[in-house]
Symmetry: C2
Subunit: 467 residues, 2 copies
């Protein structure tokens, strides 16, 4: 049967069907640290919509699961393919097909990297706002399939706000055109929106019509403010939001994350407990906004530093940008991703402090403070997430939900959070969502075991960190 599937794929797709051990091994993992059990049958490198349709027709005919992947930069294991599965890579479908400045839209294939799209749009003076930290190495299709967020969401919106239309191949190989090229449109149900963040469970995105903006004019301004504790920094961030000045970016680093980065970069140690906000303003009022925000932060007790020039700004941003390498230097990292209403940030940091005490852990945390999305980092030794870390993560998720927030602001459910999906959705909504997924994929061959799969029998999730 296994040989049959690969033979059928090869008959239809020739050398786009890759069964090399290296490729099949690579398709087991993303950037989460999680890897699937076993290796997939093959990885199909689709180069056209027709390739995707052929793959899904073969998969449907043989009942073979299909796991779609882009650049595999996901942080929840959603694109990891294992034993008996076909890995369907969209990475080779990476063309920027159309740019229409007069309509503020672009049409892309899903495998284009976010940064390559940006380089393609820049000469037209255009810009697609969704801007995940992984932009240099992640695909637009993955960005859409995950509903990935980024640093700019408070000012410039989330992915859902920036997609006009999607072409989608269903599990049985049929091609659907969802949405339209106009700004407005309310014909029937909004399946374009439903696809965003569906993590490969509803269909395969083979084309996207993106809603663009003009590039923001003028030079951005950058400032930092340090505080004697993370709670003060979180309160200051809330004060900025309450002031009505809208930063483009507002990032918060708690004491543990700031200290780890300073050590990693061989900078002088920060004061004990010191936390930091880094803020960027942009647009025609960038300078005025930066001044007003500086005043708010100083009034909240912050020690403020305005970047003098672009090079100085780059130095300030280097600290925030070095968080992941600094964590990796400490050990295996499980990056969490809860999101809360902005006013609940101080309370959420209190919860993190409580969890640190109760589980005897240090949880270095950075936060998109402009939008309330926190990334607590659990760092441990060895490849497997210790039980105590999962117990602490469970506590963390429930705290975020109590505060009106969510399990995942931008990374998705994938494999790593399927245990908690029902906790957030409730039984009724969880069942409803599963039934909707079954309408798209009656045989359940699209990314099975992810998102809606019943929680595994034990708390243990296969995990092989440090990739």
């Amino acid at each position: 049967m296994t040989a049959d599937v690969v033979a059928l794929l090869r008959a239809a797709l020739g050398d786009r069907v890759d069964t090399s051990t290296a490729s099949r091994e690579a398709a087991r993992a993303d950037k989460s640290g999680h890897a699937a059990v076993g290796t997939p049958l093959a990885i199909v490198h689709a180069t056209s919509v027709r390739d995707v349709q052929e793959t899904l027709r073969t998969a449907s005919a043989t009942g073979t699961p299909v796991v779609t992947r882009g650049a595999a930069t996901g942080l929840a294991g959603g694109a990891n393919a294992g034993a008996g599965e076909i890995a369907l890579s969209m990475r080779s479908m990476n063309r920027l097909l159309e740019v229409r400045a007069e309509d503020l839209l672009a049409v892309v294939e899903p495998g284009i990297l976010n940064a390559d799209l940006d380089r393609g749009l820049a000469p037209h003076g255009l810009w697609w706002p969704p801007d995940p930290a992984s932009r240099e190495v992640s695909t637009v299709g993955g960005n859409i399939a995950t509903g990935a967020g980024g640093l700019l969401c408070a000012k410039y919106g989330v992915v859902r706000d920036a997609v006009l239309a999607l072409d989608v191949v269903l599990a049985d190989g049929r091609l659907l055109h969802l949405g339209h090229r106009s700004v407005k449109g309310v014909t029937g149900l909004d399946l374009t929106a439903l696809m965003i963040g569906s993590e490969g469970t509803l269909g395969v995105i083979v084309g996207a019509t993106l809603k663009l903006r003009r590039r923001v004019p003028g030079a951005p301004r950058t400032l930092t403010a340090t505080f004697t504790g993370v709670r003060d920094a979180a309160n200051a961030a809330a004060a900025v939001t309450a002031s009505g000045r809208q930063p483009a970016i507002m990032e918060l680093m708690d004491a543990a994350s700031l200290a780890a980065v300073h050590a990693h970069l061989a900078l002088p140690d920060p004061s004990r407990g010191e936390a930091q906000l880094t803020v960027q303003t942009d647009g025609p009022t960038a300078a005025d906004d930066a001044g007003a925000i500086a005043a708010v932060l100083a009034a909240c007790g912050g020690e403020v530093r305005l970047a003098e020039d672009d090079s100085d700004a780059a130095q300030l941003w280097r600290v925030r940008r070095s968080l992941h390498p600094a964590m990796e230097a400490l050990g295996t990292t499980l990056i969490e991703d809860v999101s809360v209403p902005r006013s609940a940030l101080p309370a959420m940091f209190d919860e993190i402090a409580r969890i640190e005490r109760e589980y005897a852990l240090t949880i270095p945390t950075v936060c998109h403070a402009g939008d309330g999305n926190l990334h607590p980092n659990f760092v441990f030794t060895g490849p497997d997430v210790p039980d105590a870390v999962w117990a602490a993560a469970d506590d963390l998720f429930r705290a975020a939900l109590r505060l009106g927030g969510t399990l995942t602001g931008e990374h998705g459910i994938g494999v790593l959070k399927r245990r908690w999906l029902k906790v957030e959705l409730g039984e009724d909504q969880w069942q409803l969502q599963r039934q909707i997924a079954r309408v798209f994929d009656p045989a359940g061959i699209l990314n099975p075991g992810k998102v809606f799969a019943p929680p595994p029998p034990s708390s243990a999730v296969p995990y092989h960190g440090g990739t």
Copy 2:
């Protein structure tokens, strides 16, 4: 059976169950001119989530259809209730429950009027952008259920971009909480987005958490430009979009609509063929943007007039605002609602001119030129839409689809456009959408006969204009 349903409702809901002839007659119609066949069994004036749940439990138990309505300002017949149906009015659930400036969110009941919400938010310096022309008399719940747009969508987004969470009662009476209070969140499928524009077919919206903005600071600027023909005006609008200056509002009136309004207001007749753009800029760069846009319009051959002050601006806007009364003075009006990519506006006006010639009709057309949404008006005598008008409308819809647009930018499908739903969606997507609706409402009691109902056997749609 009929008596049983009303008796059961009354036992559960007492005097919130209204069977007066006047109320039941009123529940047959919205602002589209369409009225349902027959009168509903009763109208339930829900005052709480529990009332809605009781209504739906009774409806489910007895297999009785439920048609949800707000202020009945719809333009597609979606809220019209007829024989054998329960009309469920949300108009009495009209409280502004919570305003959180620090989180830029508000929680409302669905029956609150858009304008009342705005009056409630203004003292907090806050604003909910979705701004239909009907704002003084339409509800927020109806706005969301329709995906209604308005004048500001190009700059400030559509309804989908402005809703964080919805509370929804399903057909069987269960209450679901969709979405979250945080800016970001990608837990499972985005059912909040799916509800927006679902026109009462998936569930009853009983609460909404709205994503707010700060009120735009500074005084807006208004200007008009007249052109010798509508094609020139459409090209000028496209040139404004291409210039990178973003108007808050950009409205286009073609010659027939401009002449009709001038006659209605007893203003001097415009020149033959004269079309007009009315533009508003806002925010910190309002004056600079207005100057730049004036220059673009003048370069496109427009005769530009900048409003000198607020009172002058109000006079300029009075012309655009008088369109509907002017149309009503001419006869019964069928207001259409196609939307196209902005660059296709000149081509769409060419199609309208062709349709006018081929069907020997005059089709006064106004257009949200900033976003490409056109409202061609078919005016006729008597209560019923003539066959020639439906034939011309059919031609109009297909032209918009050929140009990459949609049947409906902001009014919805309701009853009046269900014939064409499959033309836009295609058979496969139409079937998929119907199946999704059945997951929410297996017995098909929510707004049956609307949106997904099979097209009626003849082209005739019951219509009783002039409401």
